[in-house]
Subunit: 526 residues, 2 copies
């Protein structure tokens, strides 16, 4: 195990904290199952105490996915207890608790004098909280990870003290997060080396790192830490996460694979599942992957200049240091058509990472045949879009019944909608600056909304002329963002569906009673 | 100058080689002017021998932009001569010539026996070509850079020999490209250290590096090279370029600024121009920046979790290691309205990096007032879209005169177009699977085209409900990609304009006679 690097995927926790990337339970479950196929070692499934939906999602994943399932908890009893409740059903479970250790964070978050009057006193409070948290977690669960938040900016001596305390208290993994993405690779490696030398019994636990990408160095920092002795890396698919995101799982894994001549480490990841996982995460979160993203960007294996193309044709390795097949980019496109049956559809969806029960299959099959009638060829991308659109959306407060649009250069764009709300059917029409604006205005008249439109995105239309468009809409109401997605070969219809779905999400949340833990507000996180 | 790092921007050369990122001369000139405001040290303006348009663009930039203007040339007389012709008018000019040095490249590109029968003989041919190329370049120009293509995979002894030869022959900068993005930071630093120790007179020249991002390590490799002695880095805005792109200028520059406590180097870059430059490059190339991109992604300075927001409110530096203002992200949005005059518009556009003559201003002003009538508030993003759409597009083969569209859930989407072609006006209508498809089908009937639709993207709609949509379309014909862009508050109209513009680009290129250099085909590039 000396050279085995554990991959701790936090797409569902830190990744989901990306602005606007809210995932519902079904989407989280699908991603978790795909991470199982990708063969990561640990999934951080969520932060159970933060909301009942988070709790429920972690619980479902713990019950269904056979990996180590971690749940996040601040260094507080209620958090740790709730985290454990959520992962109780997992065959392998981990409580991940944390406390803030940098001066910035301690002074920023523990300003109240009840935590101590001086920085020194506050620091000792953090040490005490950490010890008690780890001890309590260990009383529930044999696998406990402790993180020192903002370790990247924490003075080394104090960091050693906190980490030593956590190990004494029973932590089996100690995580050193560069929470603000501030460190340089050499500096971060020195931190890890220093800990390895100074902290008592650190050789009995796994050292983990969790790097953020604010300066573009998250992957390099993770690799430097591995060389210095870290044996777990926390990362996300496509590098999503707060701000500039986390270290990219796919980049770390492929560096270790492509350069195993120099870095003698291995992971358990099945790299051929990288592409499918990337597509699924980007589809569900609505966070696009830029074309020039390493490993999973659409241009990562494409060459433009005639010169380069010539080189590639002559000898592939002239410009390619790995093959597209190694990360699961299919060589040939598999195409379904109207004669593909339920069985063929299920098989293809399963290869793409989606597991369906019979009800779900029936729903998607009827959408599929409808599409296959319009398009002769149904591509993987089409199926991914249908999956993102259809199966996992169950918020149907308002339902689009009918839509009519007239627009053009010398016309006043006008839209008419018919929307179902329980037993009612409401018709409205409106004009706008374009057909989409007209549709949104008409919908506004039905729902009498106070939402502001924050984002409107039409994503990857699939291959072929009769391609489908996927519209992602984000709207804001009282400080909350709600996302909606719509898929159709008609971009206006897709827009209407996406807008209504976002409104439905807002409505559902307003009617659900949120149930935050008693006591203080959430005030810190890794 | 010991600690001054020269920033060599190759957005216009390597960046433009990104699949589908073709820039016209006006766009290149605008970007070059913006790079001047950003205060980079050297611009690589293009590869003049590769096409007459490349030649013309380099020539225009050389005549108008007051920076060191570099032009790329293979190690051949015709290339070097053409490069020099193109930059002759620049007050400071550089010829950048290169030869391939890795075994992969030598065997792949110089397979013909005329280059030698054994690898050893071929290698000596490359040394000879390099010497002659540098000597010839030096006879024309005092500032000559030599690159050893795929140096990242070139055996060190041979690399030393080639670099020493280039220095003997008169090169003033020697560039070590990691062409395939294969190296690790420590490995790359060792290469640079080795060269510094072994190559005669290397202390008399500037060592440069040029890193690609295939493994996500381009920025880390560039920084490691700086620590080992490199004093020039080649990079691009937003990290665009072949495949997974080049090292990101903004990341390298901000690491050096934010971490000057550890890395004692400086650049001449005015970091407050980073945001404008990033927006302009992404707008003109159509290459999106992912939200979680470091420094310039839309989420780079945004925080999601209630927890983090709380931290940020309490104390900004809890999660921010640099301010948005440091990279030029405006604190407050400056808004123009229908009462803003020509003067106000010109001033704002100039702050955004656009320099206009009176004719151009008049054109954009009429688009602006038209928009200000529809939207009450015109944002910077609106202006950027208008600029991308209107001023710099002069390919008007087909012109959209009128458009009418009917669509909806129970309607057969139908579009009617009226298109001008010289003195003719052609009307056509067609149905489709959605309104956009119907419009494209109607246009196809007019132009009788054989284009396949490769990409259809609706980009950042601007702030506010009556926002504008920007559609980017890429179509393919006989192996070539053509891009078109359309902007309107009506997404269908924007689509029609974008599609027609892409077709126009194709038509213009077909009628222009391309004039490749005599002799062999282009076969290598850095």
């Amino acid at each position: 195990m000396q050279n085995r690097i554990l991959i701790f995927d936090t797409t569902l926790r830190d990744g989901e904290q990306s602005p606007g990337a809210s995932l519902n339970i079904h989407e989280k479950l699908e991603i978790a199952r795909q991470l199982e196929k990708l063969r990561v070692d640990i999934i951080e499934a969520g932060f159970p105490v933060s909301s009942p939906t988070q709790f429920e999602a972690v619980k479902r994943i713990a019950g269904e996915v056979n990996l180590v399932i971690a749940a996040l908890a601040r260094a507080r009893e209620i958090d740790i207890k709730t985290a454990f409740e959520a992962i109780r059903d997992a065959s392998r479970k981990r409580i991940h608790t944390f406390a803030s250790t940098s001066d910035y964070h301690i002074l920023g978050k523990f300003s109240d004098t009840k935590y101590g009057r001086s920085l020194k006193e506050k620091r000792q409070t953090v040490v005490k909280m950490s010890r008690e948290a780890v001890q309590y977690a260990c009383s529930l669960c044999g696998d406990v990870e402790f993180s020192a938040e903002d370790a990247g900016r924490t003075p080394l001596d104090y960091l050693c003290e906190v980490i030593e305390t956590a190990i004494e208290a029973g932590a089996t993994t100690v995580n050193i997060p560069d929470t603000t993405g501030y460190t340089l690779p050499s500096e971060f490696a020195q931190k890890i080396s220093h800990l390895k030398q100074q902290v008592k019994n650190i050789d009995r636990v796994t050292i983990s790192v969790h790097c953020h990408n604010d300066l573009g160095l998250a992957v390099a920092n993770s690799l430097a830490a591995i060389e210095a002795g870290a044996r777990q890396v926390e990362c996300t698919i496509n590098g999503i996460g707060e701000r500039a995101g986390n270290a990219s799982l796919e980049e770390i894994v492929m560096v270790l694979q492509v350069r195993k001549d120099l870095m003698h480490f291995e992971t358990g990841v099945d790299t051929r599942e990288i592409y499918n996982t990337s597509k699924m995460v980007s589809g569900f979160t609505g966070i696009v992957v830029q074309p020039n993203k390493a490993i999973v960007g659409e241009n990562a294996f494409a060459h433009e200049s005639g010169i380069h193309q010539d080189g590639v044709l002559k000898k592939r390795e002239t410009y390619e240091i790995m093959t597209p097949e190694a990360v699961g980019i299919p060589k040939t496109k598999i195409i379904l058509g109207r004669h593909s049956g339920r069985h063929g559809l299920r098989a293809r969806l399963s290869e793409l990472g989606y597991r369906l029960n019979d009800d779900e299959l029936n729903k998607i099959y009827s959408r599929f045949t409808e599409l296959a009638d319009k398009k002769k060829e149904v591509f993987d991308e089409d199926l991914r879009l249908l999956m993102g659109d259809e199966i996992y959306k169950q918020n149907t407060y308002y339902e689009l019944k009918q839509l009519q649009v007239h627009s053009g250069t010398h016309t006043i764009p006008t839209a008419t909608v018919e929307i179902g709300l329980k037993d009612q059917v409401i018709q409205e029409s409106a004009t706008g600056d374009g057909p989409v604006d007209a549709v949104f205005n008409a919908i506004d008249r039905v729902v009498k909304s106070d939402y502001s439109l924050e984002m409107y995105q039409v994503r990857s239309v699939t291959s072929g002329r009769q391609a489908m468009g996927e519209v992602v809409v984000k709207i804001r109401s009282s400080g909350h963002l709600y996302a909606g997605r719509g898929v159709s070969t008609d971009i206006i219809e897709a827009s209407a569906k996406a807008y209504l779905q976002a409104i439905n999400s807002g409505q559902m949340e307003k009617t659900a009673v949120s149930n935050p833990p008693e006591g203080e507000r959430l005030s810190n996180i890794v």
